[in-house]
């Protein structure tokens, strides 16, 4: 007689409906559900508590050296923030701009429409240098994601970017109804050079 392997036995059980078929007791079913929910919930809680699901870190965290997440690989860091007003300059080494922390996610929606106004003059900013093509949405007062590494030059910390991406917030507005106050800070897209005449 042929010996039945564990796998074949399990397959037989599955096929005959003894595991998930008709003969599963009702309590067993809810136990299954309970175990599934428990595993999902526990894993999910662990994810929340570990806060490991962070796509980018703030400039102030990078400057202070407290950024534990956001490491892309090796020394590379993913930085996210606001492009500071009047900070974009084009040099022979590429474009240079300052990035400030995003306004807190807990701030009221009205604060979020005037991103640039939220950046206080005393706020920690990080200078970024990037030689490459900027994304279409790149502008002062817009959210930006920068991948690269921090370098110390004398007393200054400068962030050398390998790539720059945009982040789009949840604000939609028809071109025709852009209010003058916002257009002061956030112009419809122009090339970065033109924004600092």
């Amino acid at each position: 007689m042929r010996r039945t392997s564990n796998r074949e036995f399990l397959r037989g059980r599955l096929l005959s409906g003894k595991v998930l078929g008709g003969k599963l007791p009702r309590l067993g079913l809810f136990a299954w559900l309970g175990v599934g929910c428990f595993i999902c919930g526990a894993g999910f809680l662990a994810l929340i508590l570990s806060k490991s699901l962070v796509f980018y870190v703030a400039p102030s965290e990078v400057v202070a050296g407290t950024a534990r997440a956001g490491v892309v690989g090796g020394r590379a860091i993913r930085l996210g923030g606001l492009v500071v007003a009047d900070s974009v300059k084009t040099t022979t080494d590429g474009v240079i701009f300052a990035v400030a922390d995003l306004p807190s996610r807990s701030t009221s929606p009205t604060n979020r429409t005037t991103n640039l106004a939220v950046v206080a003059p005393s706020a920690t900013t990080l200078t970024v240098r990037y030689a490459g093509v900027l994304p279409p949405l790149f502008a002062e007062g817009e959210e930006v994601i920068v991948e690269g590494r921090l370098e110390h030059k004398a007393t200054q910390k400068i962030f050398i970017a390998d790539s720059v991406f945009s982040r789009h917030d949840e604000e939609y507005r028809p071109v025709s109804r852009t209010t003058p106050r916002q257009s002061l800070y956030q112009k419809p897209y122009q090339t970065p050079e033109k924004q600092n005449p």
Binding site: G21, C37, K51, L137, Y172, V175
Partner: protein, 257 residues
């Protein structure tokens, strides 16, 4: 066995509804397309790219909605052992899979245009991708087990456990620092999506809902027929069963003529 056969009236009803739903989908789809392409203004920052919003957000909403329906059908399958619900389950899983895929593809195109990235390992993007895999699981479980109805029961458990994932997708952009923006329509305070954008989105979402109805009405009778053709009591042999039995056999089993 305590299988309760629902009246085949439901199957006949869905067959009768299908052409009307299809016509309604095409009509509303035409209006929604015109609204999205002509009526909708350009966005102040995104320009014309904003039009991807209508296909993307609707598809993403439907991907969540289909899983809710899946869970509802799953309860009926597990509790009442309802074959019609099993057929609805299968049809919904297919629709949900394609809506999720559409949300991911359109999102990828939008991301390339706006972020400069086709893909990122972002909380929202990854959780939506996991939903795609969950749909794949719900689709492949019935096919993996020899007894199709037992497979649907297994998939129903997956659908119920998978409910946990829906709030994770929905709030992934709130709980974690993500690349994907937070919701504009359900934002705190006022909506961040002006009516000029919201109206075409609503039309498109309704079109998708009708499309879902059409797909379910077209596929459910086929799936129902197949469940009847498949013996509800598992066979001990591992030989593959014919996918669809002759109509006479189905008519005998389910009084569905």
């Amino acid at each position: 066995m305590s299988e309760t056969l629902p009246p085949p009236k439901l199957v006949l009803l869905s067959l009768r509804l299908a052409p009307w739903l299809l016509a309604a989908t095409l009509a509303l789809g035409g209006v929604a397309s015109l609204a999205s392409l002509l009526f909708s203004p350009a966005d102040w920052r995104q320009g014309e790219t904003v039009r991807i919003l209508y296909v993307h957000v609707s598809a993403a909403w439907m991907s969540l909605f289909c899983w809710l329906v899946l869970a509802g059908a799953g309860v009926a399958v597990l509790w009442r052992r309802c074959i019609f619900s099993a057929a609805v389950f299968e049809a919904t899983a297919w629709a949900g899979f394609w809506f999720t895929a559409l949300a991911l593809i359109t999102g990828s195109i939008w991301g390339r245009a706006i972020w400069g990235l086709w893909w990122a390992w972002d909380a929202r993007l990854v959780s939506e991708l996991i939903l795609l895999f969950l749909y794949l699981g719900a689709l492949s479980l019935p096919a993996a087990l020899e007894n199709r109805f037992a497979g649907i029961r297994a998939a129903s458990i997956l659908a119920l456990v998978g409910l946990v994932h829906l709030p994770i997708i929905k709030f992934s952009v709130v709980w974690w620092i993500s690349l994907h923006q937070t919701s504009s329509v359900f934002a705190r305070g006022e909506s961040r999506l002006p009516n000029e954008f919201f109206a075409p989105l609503l039309l498109m979402a309704l079109t998708y809902l009708l499309l879902y109805g059409t797909l379910v009405c077209l596929r459910t009778p086929v799936a129902y027929q197949r469940f009847l053709a498949t013996p509800l009591v598992a066979l001990p042999s591992a030989t593959a069963l014919p996918p669809v039995a002759p109509p006479s056999a189905a008519a005998d089993d389910g009084d569905n003529s």
